[in-house]
Point group: C2
Chain length 377, copies 2
């Protein structure tokens, strides 16, 4: 399924061309637009989009451009996007480090929330004014209008805070599935994670607490780490340690009344991954879902043979591909309800679309540590 306006246009010409087909020349776009206009009665407004023509550093290859109007076919829904986040995974997709690269030119972004603007003649379940999210998320949400078949949109409760609706899938759903699908945890059990201040990390803490599961959290050593500890504890973290605190042979004495965890999460790599392994109990599992330090994970032979540890990964994009569309919408509704009740929260900064370059710089870490950037159209 073509997932962005630019790909829509390309695919109309390519017919059976795969995502690796060459990009469509600009003059064919214009020709196509004229042809479509002459046959179509209902058209979307033109869209203002963050486009990249090639993979590379996002601040070098991204530009905001106007894309032509699109026909709204019988099954299509035209959505005016309200808010979209800049996730680390969006940046990685633009950089081209993901194994699946969208054909370029492409529109950035992978999730968000929008309001239905207009619908095709066969659409019954959605009406203008409804709030929807792309579900499963798809590439190309960083634009003001998106036209896609009705079945890719999930209607959500409009009372949800916009920034949570925009960000509910990529991070919170990752946290939920990693907690639920890997190890059978019971109330009173514990988990351990590094990168605990990440949005996934904050969600793990809160979702675990809701199930009576205790969390052991590892953060970087940095100025203000005491405040960070307090903040995570307010979210429900049972223990928070800096990496330096754990530079000891055995971490068992840090556990006090918390049982040794059977499940650990790693989004950092390097030494921070080894710290997660240190905490795990005999037969435990560590799940890797990120590599913030860009360092690999190193494991001793004894950890596998004598401690019987297992290591695996989690990638939401792959999990979602496995026929999980219906199931995952119920999970999303559950997570959205938690954001409305205040049981699930995390820091975000809403930035207007015309300040996209600043938001991107913040997301790229060029302006120091910043909260998650959410673009408001």
């Amino acid at each position: 399924m073509a997932t962005v306006r630019l790909l829509h246009l390309s695919s109309a010409f390519r017919r059976h061309g795969g995502p690796s087909s060459p990009p469509l020349p600009r003059r064919l776009f214009r020709l196509y637009n004229r042809v479509v206009r002459s046959f179509s009665t209902s058209m979307s407004p033109p869209s203002k989009a963050v486009v990249y023509d090639e993979q590379g550093a996002p601040d070098a290859v991204c530009s905001v451009r106007e894309l032509p109007a699109l026909p709204i076919k019988d099954e299509d829904v035209c959505v005016r996007m309200l808010a979209v986040p800049i996730n680390p995974s969006d940046i990685n997709r633009i950089e081209g480090v993901y194994p699946v690269r969208p054909a370029v030119p492409a529109v950035g972004g992978y999730e968000g929330v929008g309001e239905v603007h207009s619908v095709g003649s066969a659409v019954k379940e959605l009406r203008p004014g409804d709030w929807v999210i792309p579900s499963p998320p798809f590439s190309g949400t960083w634009q003001t209008f998106v036209v896609k078949e009705q079945n890719v949109w999930h209607k959500i409760d409009k009372r949800t805070p916009m920034e949570y609706a925009a960000t509910i899938t990529v991070n919170p759903l990752t946290a939920l599935r990693m907690l639920e699908d890997i190890v059978d945890l019971k109330s009173g059990d514990s988990v351990v994670q590094n990168g605990a201040t990440s949005i996934v990390g904050q969600c793990v803490i809160q979702l675990a607490r809701l199930r009576g599961i205790q969390s052991i959290n590892i953060i970087r050593d940095r100025p203000g780490s005491d405040e960070v500890k307090e903040k995570l504890k307010k979210l429900g973290a049972n223990e928070v340690f800096t990496e330096n605190q754990l530079a000891v042979k055995s971490v068992k004495h840090f556990l006090a009344d918390i049982p040794e965890p059977a499940l650990g999460f790693n989004c950092v790599g390097g030494n921070a991954a080894s710290l997660v392994l240190k905490f795990l109990k005999q037969g435990g599992t560590m799940v890797t879902y990120g590599g913030m330090s860009k360092k690999p994970i190193t494991v001793s032979t004894g950890s596998f043979i004598f401690k019987d540890l297992s290591l695996r990964g989690f990638w939401l994009q792959k999990w979602m591909g496995a026929e999980k569309a219906k199931e995952s919408r119920e999970m999303i509704d559950y997570l959205l309800s938690l954001t409305r009740s205040g049981e699930l929260k995390y820091d975000m900064e809403l930035t207007p679309f015309d300040q996209f370059p600043t938001a991107l710089d913040k997301a790229l870490g060029k302006l120091g540590s910043q909260p998650k950037q959410v673009i408001k159209f």
Copy 2:
């Protein structure tokens, strides 16, 4: 269950003492021996054993000693050991690097084959002259006579070559379980392994071939590697590569008509483990069962997230503990039948017991590369 003569003796005094209780003073041994002699009608012959009084370098801490006769109780079987191997795991146990340390003093060895010498009055299934192996294997086989309850002995076919009977559990059963229990392999599938010249490695090649599974094998670069390749191919290896041959970015072109393997075995660590990971297909699993290089295993974040690889360990001693006694005897009989038919073979050298120090030096690698040492009593 106390598993060696020395522990037998100790435990008779300790009653409920665990394996961590202090060793029994020598004069108590003598006292105990006198007491026992006066009550018991049937006694074992004294045993000549390889004993270590403390954990350490095997050639420093091991000595051959005579141990006193033991009473043969109603359920006991006294076995005259015929042959026992010196496995790397035996060496590790003596060094104390295993997480479970036998209480010292202890007799070395963990498997072997013996002939029933005499039986207690309640023993019906075993008779003098029968060949038996310890099953599951237990610590303390490196001695001329072992007295243990009948249920720890498994009667085997006497037509089995002695050196195979002595070595069938630790290595061949590891190969069999790793092939059968981790990934559901079908005829035509493939596996990849490093340390392919090890006994487990040779067994993997042959057991895989018997099931129509292709094997990709990685060996060290060393003089004579061409002969090693030929030898492994004669056993049924489909491909054999040296580590240097695989020092390329992609190894896919090496596969030719062999499908990418879903399962890999690592007994080396370091770069040799990374080579196994390189060959694995999306979603594949690498099992670590040894660490010959003494180097850890290093894995990229992308291997977990995008390639969806899983890493785990296999340790026969733990697997055996899980109520597998009956099942595993059937597997052993199957493996023994393969050694009789010539379908399973591997290099061994039989060395007389009086040359134990030389055999130990060979097993420790002090005399260069040597075949597996099997002590013949």
